[in-house]
Symmetry: C2
Subunit: 276 residues, 2 copies
Amino acid sequence: MNSTQLFEQIVRKRSFLCVGLDTDPAKIPAFLREEEDPVFAFNRAVVDATAPFAVSYKPNLAFYEACGARGWRSYEKTVEYIRRTYPEIFIIADAKRGDIGNTSRLYARTFFEGEAAVDAVTLSPYMGRDTAEPFLQYEGRWAVLLALTSNGSASDFEMQRMASGECLYETVLRTSREWGTAENTMYVVGATKTDMLHAVRAIVPDHFLLVPGVGAQGGSLEEAARFGMNGKCGLLVNSSRGIIYADNGERFAEAAAEKAAELARRMGGLLDAFLK
Amino acid sequence: MNSTQLFEQIVRKRSFLCVGLDTDPAKIPAFLREEEDPVFAFNRAVVDATAPFAVSYKPNLAFYEACGARGWRSYEKTVEYIRRTYPEIFIIADAKRGDIGNTSRLYARTFFEGEAAVDAVTLSPYMGRDTAEPFLQYEGRWAVLLALTSNGSASDFEMQRMASGECLYETVLRTSREWGTAENTMYVVGATKTDMLHAVRAIVPDHFLLVPGVGAQGGSLEEAARFGMNGKCGLLVNSSRGIIYADNGERFAEAAAEKAAELARRMGGLLDAFLK
């Protein structure tokens, strides 16, 4: 998918919502646990209920790997289901991988080829260009590089000052924007750091940003839009727990849809207000 | 496992060899492909042949994930086999994970609990302390943080100068050594960067270092030992392709054993020469 197609979907749905499928088997409603694959059954119901309000889904691999081979299969089935049923949806594997050479090529093949191919993968930039290179070879697929994350200990390294006067996250943005283009690279910028979105946009005005931290982590959707939106929206704002665990009983999917619809309604207003 | 037990094994085997199980299904001998689980059959044979010369095995998750759920099962079976058959061996899951909060806790549980529990996991430090914290809660288990990697683009960020005058990898070492101790934290330092081992040892004199890059990547075992060894050896030197793909036919396991034995012989000499 290219950025124009993604933007068209955003305009059509009046939403730049990414729903994080951080599906913890311990947190899904009890009645689903009798299903053959409870995690997949949960995800399918959440996706069907929220797809009118979301342009993207982001399964976090940690939650699937925690169940070993069985969990990996739930992940694949989820991706295959979304791809087949909602082909316009942008799927991000939140894997935060980061390796080099032949290993990085294998990760790229794992995520970008076959039945369970996704549109984008999150990557840690620590090891440099070698990490992203194999992912950038795939036409229409995206590397989503961690830049400035929403957690407290982002201050340990990401926000440390370099000899150049920039912070590390700025150096990561400035260096890595040369590896690819705004058509194959996105950046993770936490919604808890909206005061730094100015600095981010000064370096990567055209790139899409994946913004986690709205909701459970306390980030502001409105501030993310005010400081981060560009002429093609340029934002995917993620919410996970606030949507998928909105209700713990029979009506978990309706509750998820309500939360997603509410976020989409606010997003529609922000698109009207800020889209330049 | 604690560092004393690891050191005792190093002295007993006169080796600080870690064998990287980067098992690519396309590269294993043709006659093994008729096995029910060719990757596991290959790993088991390599482990049985090389265990007298190795103190550690390091399966790289990328190679297993590339085969989806089936590959994940091969990984689990490999770990379970090593744990059961060679309980003294130090197993490192080379996953290079890096996430935060509840996600990081899930990764820690995945790798440190259950039948396929390993001794150590490699982690990317980019997001700071939150990444390592859950792993450091497990008694006798280890976080192996990327510090200075063996690849060319380590210069993109790891070797960039900070405002403090240090390089980023030095800041990572200095900051992260406070998160845990030399009993639960190791560092990845590439053998292609042995001239920087002085700087590394100035900051973390007592920690074990996991040193990849000997062999295929051109790093020198002798230099790694000269500049990196401490009073408890303090090194695990990894070789992957040079051992496991030493021969492509019926005698792949014997060939792997010969390569491992040759490295162990050199390591024995280095232990005699440099152990202080």
